[in-house]
Every structure is written in structure tokens, then in C-alpha cells.
Amino acid sequence: MTTLTDRYLAATLRSVPAARRAEIADELRASIADMVDGRAADGVDAVTAEREVLTELGNPAQLAARYSDRRLQLIGPQYYLAWQRLLILLVSSIPAVVGVLVGAIEATVSDNPGGAIGAGFSAAFNVAVQIAFWVTLVFAVLERVGTPLNLPEWTVDQLPDEPVERDVSRTDTCAAIVFLVLTIAFLPWQQFQRVIGDGDRLPILDPALWASWLPVLIAVLVAGIGLEIAKYRAGRWTWPLVGANAMLNLAFAVPASWLLLTDRLLNPDFVARFAWLRDGGVDLVARISVVVTVGITVWDVVDSAVKARRAAR
């Protein structure tokens, strides 16, 4: 008959190196019997005593790990920081690049802009998952094998040049990124929305733009997210960031204004649906939008330059 002790021993010995298995088995069996006897001497019946002893010895996998001097962790303190740094570095850059590339290529070869955005996001997500998996797997293997990483020792020279007084708070960065993401999400949404218009699909922007300007604007918005992240990492506005910000602002404002002023931005069907837009309202909306866009652009560039100058002092 198989006793609880037999099952416990089998479970423990399964993950102990084979060479030492038999001896550990004999010794552990004797120790368990001694412990059971010890409890029986205190008046505990044999069945309860056995259960109590095995419970006290605990999870067999854990006991086996102690016998084989294995540490119960995926990535230990020796490798953790290197793993974390590499993972953040890779996941924060490669998926975004791949996603934008895939999305852009998809947009140029097919007539399905919504599908192209989906393909971009899905590619970025897959790449991120793959990177996380493989990096973690490699480090977990290193941890098991115990390979020395031979990384250079930390020295005081690696300290940041100055204590970073953050001009750019995490909250501001998050808010800016959320706004950009919502703006990007608005573009496919408006294509399929049924909220405005009598329950039919009624794209707000001209669907023809999906083959021309909308992918460009999306790319600019995605680059804007990258800029926010770079700004947060720098902790303040620097002149290269100001330059990049001005470029991105222009890359968005100029096409958007041109489309508005030449009447190519809004969907003609959308305009036709509303009487006040048809009767000259479009021009008014376009003019106001352009003025607001230019105003925001100028203010944003000036603001960034002022902050960069203040931070450089």
C-alpha cells in the first residue's frame, strides 16, 4: 500500500539530482518516521501524526529545492537590474518602430486604413510580447547556469551630471500621451461612427484621405508620443527636443490647415447632411479651426523654447 509518506518522498525526490536520490530517500524516510514516532509518544494517533509531520515539512518542491541548493526565483538579484534595463530599452523602442512600419506599409498596399492601423498595433503588441518572453527566457537560463555577465562594475562616474530637477512631471507626460492616443483613436472611430447622422455610418473626415494624408498625420501623432517619452526621460526641455517638437508641430499643423482651407478635410457626405454646414458653415468652421491650430502650434513651440532656455540656465 502506498502511504502518504511514500507519496511525499516520491514528490520530493522527483526534482532532486538522481545521483543523490537514494540516499536522501533513506535519510528522509527515517527522519519522517522519527518525527512521527516523536508525535505518537505525545499521544497523537499515527494517521494524524503523519499528516502533521508532512505538513510541517511543507511543499515537496520547496524541500527538494533546498536539498539541491536551488533558488526559487526566475531572475535573481545578480541579473535583475541588467534584465530590467535591457527589457525597458527594447520594449520602449522596437515595438513602436515595427508597429509604425507595418502600419505604414499596410496602408500603402491596401485600401483598408482601419485594417492598417489594426495591423500596426497588433504587430507592435506581438513584437513586445516576443521581446519580453525571449529576454526573460535568456536571463532565466543565465540564472540557472550561473554564467557571469562580466558587466563593468558600477562607478561614481556613471552618476547623472546633475541632480535632475524635473521640469516634466510624470502626470503631465501621461496626460499628453493619453491625449495623443485618444486623438489617434479618434481617426478610425470617426470613419465607422454612427453617433452623428441618423444611425448610418457617416465618416466625418473625407475617407479618400486614408490613402494620402491621414497615415501621415497618424505617424506624426505617434512620433509625438515618442517625443513625450524622450522629454520625460530627459526630465526637461532641451534644444534638440524643442527642434523635434517644432518639426512635429509643423508636420501636423501645415497639412491640417491646408486640408481645412482647401475644403478637403471633411467628408462631403457629412457636410451635405447638415444644412448649416452646407450653407457656408464649412468655411467658418475651417477658418476658426485653422486659427486655433496655428495659435496652439505657435504657443506650444514658444512655450517649449522658453522652458528649454530656463532649464539651460
Binding site: 535519510e27 527515517a30 527522519s31 522519527d34 516523536g38 510541517e56 515539512l57 536539498y67 541548493d69
Partner: protein, 113 residues
């Protein structure tokens, strides 16, 4: 209570190395796992069985303990004994323990060094 939890952790840290010292002392008289566990507990070194048994094997692999199977009684048991290398190591550990105690006493009494 959070402070109980903290106290427990610190006591555990403080006690961790002393189990090795106590085992090396106790095994100057050969003994088997369970009996050693009982002796250590009786002398104020409470230690979990699932910590002590693997520890004895590790000390044996490090050459600090020697072992011998005793098959004379009804149940065959593995008896451990502190080896020559174990004795030397024990002296070093006890010296260090005494040094820690002396340093603490000096620190408490505020005597200048």
C-alpha cells in the same frame, strides 16, 4: 501587527547563521537528524525540520560534517559528526561570534575604541 512582523523578520535574520554554529557544536557528539533537531530546540535553537535536514547535507558536502549509517537499531539512521575541517571552521565562527558580542558590549557602554 506590522511591528510583530518586522520583529520576526529581524530575529530570523539574526538567528540565521547561528543554526550552523549550533549544529557544528552539537555534532561534536555524533547524532542523526531528528535527535539533533530535538537537542537544538531544547537548547533554545528552534529550527524547522525542512531547514535542518537539507542544511546537514550541505555541510556534509562542504566537508564540515562526516556521516555514517548506523544499522544496528531497528531503523537505519544516518549519523553526522563534525569533521576536522568542521572543528577549524567552528573555532573561527565562535571567535567571530565573540568578537561581535564584544563589539556590541563596547558600543553599548560607549567605550572609545
Amino acid at each position: 501587527m506590522a511591528s510583530d512582523e518586522i520583529l520576526r523578520t529581524h530575529l530570523q535574520e539574526l538567528r540565521r547563521g547561528t543554526v550552523v554554529v549550533a549544529s557544528l557544536v552539537a555534532l561534536q557528539h555524533p547524532d542523526y537528524g531528528y535527535a539533533l533537531l530535538q537537542r537544538l530546540t531544547a537548547h533554545g535553537f528552534p529550527v524547522d525540520a525542512n531547514t535542518l535536514y537539507p542544511l546537514l547535507r550541505r555541510l556534509e558536502e562542504q566537508g564540515l560534517l562526516t556521516s555514517e549509517w548506523n544499522t544496528e537499531e531497528s531503523r537505519p539512521r544516518k549519523f553526522y559528526r563534525t569533521s576536522e575541517a568542521g572543528e577549524q571552521m567552528l573555532r573561527r565562527l565562535l571567535d567571530d561570534l565573540a568578537a561581535v558580542q564584544a563589539s556590541l558590549t563596547a558600543l553599548i557602554e560607549g567605550a572609545p575604541r
